[in-house]
Symmetry: C2
Subunit: 332 residues, 2 copies
């Protein structure tokens, strides 16, 4: 046996492995296929963070906002928060015998989702208030956390938090490693997201903006609590998104990511600032790995008018089918 | 001449200067006199940040909140924002001939402040809406910045931002250098504070919570703007402070600083959390260097009930007279 040769061979192999690892490390967006969107993102980050660049953005102004449903995680066949609300209604049904004859609860408890949601916005509002109000903020946080550990998505049979988009996780990390502060700006409930955004996205609660119901400070048996009231406080959707951004962040984002008509004003507001801006829409066109939907969809509507606006205003549009090598981490 | 001796002498002097500078550096709270409050603050920071300490607070949970008026800067003879509002009314009077016969504007324009404010909350609300609404958020920011460069406090004849408390500036820096995230939680206007908190306190806009009026997304001549409406959105005072903290931060502070009845619920909410907590009230008892006021004052009321609560619940109370070596930087 030639130990010397053996050793040399091992070292070469080891070296090859190191190079491979190092090559993988050089692409922080490895789940993105090369293409115009990936290129636009990298170019934006590089030109805005290189000292001396005419496009340089000061670290404090590096604010990037992300819609959540359909942008960071999936949203089909219905917003995941609605699955949560329905599970809550079922769990609370024993305390509400009147629901057996009241819509939308009656249909929902019979398992007839379509009939339950036939009442539209008003039916959804009733389900939301019945399931999201009437407890303290701490109790609600616990309920959300518990639900996430047990609930499974009907198609993928996995926890909902498995349905976050791997390319977007990489993007969040890429922005942060370049000094950007990442915020969520979602139509979803602010207190539905905050219990898990740090663990799942690396985004702390103070960087999560969403819709909310009113809360009230009370003292229960000597202990101060915040009670969640069945009353809408703020709807962080459409024209509400720039309002929410202004209220919570107080400065205009440098970049914004969305996926539907609900994000249009957020992208417009972002673009209207001086200097370099990046606006990106995720388009769901991959029925095999995820879902394909657009103008006709009630959830995550991507209207023709939004598509024209994107074209006219130079926004990048992600094709999940073409731009994403992987959609979910569990695919790999 | 003995150059060698001269040089030696210079080196010794230089050394002495270095030691003096270094001694000064060892006390990050040099404008605080030694005493129980300073000691409580230092002990809290040391025990919550020392790795392995049973009181250790994880960096992400190191949230400290500060009231603004009367806690970080002065608030007499009236809240400084009210001076701003009055100056705005004067500046806008030419466009509002009707104000000559309408209260509280008529009295205010005649320079009769007491008569103008005789209408109480409702008069103040009218002045606030007339002066704070009807422009875009960007225009309002510019107006606030311009005002701060020209307006002078009536007693000190200095810009209002000179009336920030030097010991509190040191405290903000001390907390931040120990990994705490500093937030303002003020009854004052959120958009009145944000244009200057970074420069004056080192607190970025996204860490400023305050009262607000509603804003509306509109497109003016093709440009998206947020218009400020004459309608109250949120009052960040008293029981509103825990609500504002929950809405903006989404976690409970580890420490809270206030100075009046308006801060009581914020301190109670802070204290109700698990683990180590620090609650501090600033008491204004120095008429010579600042002001002396308490239970009887309309601005910054420090009621007997608040004093009892502080005693009973173990909150620290700063005596400006005894605890602060300097009140304002310009004194030194």
């Amino acid at each position: 046996m030639n130990w010397g040769r053996e050793l040399k061979y091992s070292l070469v192999l080891f070296g090859l492995c190191l190079s491979a690892a190092s090559a993988a490390q050089t692409d922080p967006l490895s789940s993105w296929n090369d293409g115009s969107v990936k290129q636009a993102i990298i170019e934006f980050v590089q030109t805005t963070t290189r000292p001396g660049s005419p496009q340089f953005i000061a670290p404090a102004e590096r604010i990037v906002v992300f819609d959540n449903d359909g942008t960071l995680w999936a949203e089909q066949p219905i917003y995941f928060q609605l699955f949560f609300a329905m599970d809550r209604v079922k769990a609370l049904a024993a305390q509400h015998p009147e629901w057996e004859s009241q819509e939308p609860f009656a249909s929902l408890l019979k398992g007839n989702l379509n009939a339950a949601l036939a009442g539209g916005e008003s039916a959804i509002a009733k389900i939301m208030m019945a399931s999201h109000a009437g407890m303290t903020t701490e109790q609600f946080e616990r309920i959300v956390k518990d639900w996430l550990t047990t609930a499974k998505h009907p198609r993928f049979k996995r926890p909902y938090t498995d349905l976050v988009y791997q390319p977007m996780l990489e993007l969040l990390g890429y922005f942060r490693s370049n000094g950007f502060k990442t915020f969520i700006v979602s139509g979803g409930g602010i207190e539905f997201m905050r219990p898990w955004t740090q663990a799942v996205y690396g985004i702390p609660p103070e960087q999560v903006i969403g819709s909310s119901i009113k809360t009230k400070f009370e003292v229960h048996e000597g202990k101060p609590v915040l009670v969640r009231l069945p009353e809408v406080n703020f709807v962080d959707d459409k024209a509400g998104k720039p309002v929410g951004i202004n209220s919570h962040i107080g400065r205009r984002p440098a970049a914004a990511f969305g996926n539907s008509d609900g994000d249009r004003q957020m992208l417009e507001w972002t673009q209207a600032g001086d200097g370099p801006r990046l606006m990106v829409l995720v388009h769901h066109d991959d029925a095999t790995r995820e879902w394909a939907y657009g103008a006709e969809s009630k959830i995550g509507t991507f209207s023709d008018s939004l598509a024209s606006a994107a074209k006219k205003q130079g926004w990048s549009v992600v094709s999940i089918k073409d731009d994403w090598k992987h959609v979910f981490a569990f695919e790999k």
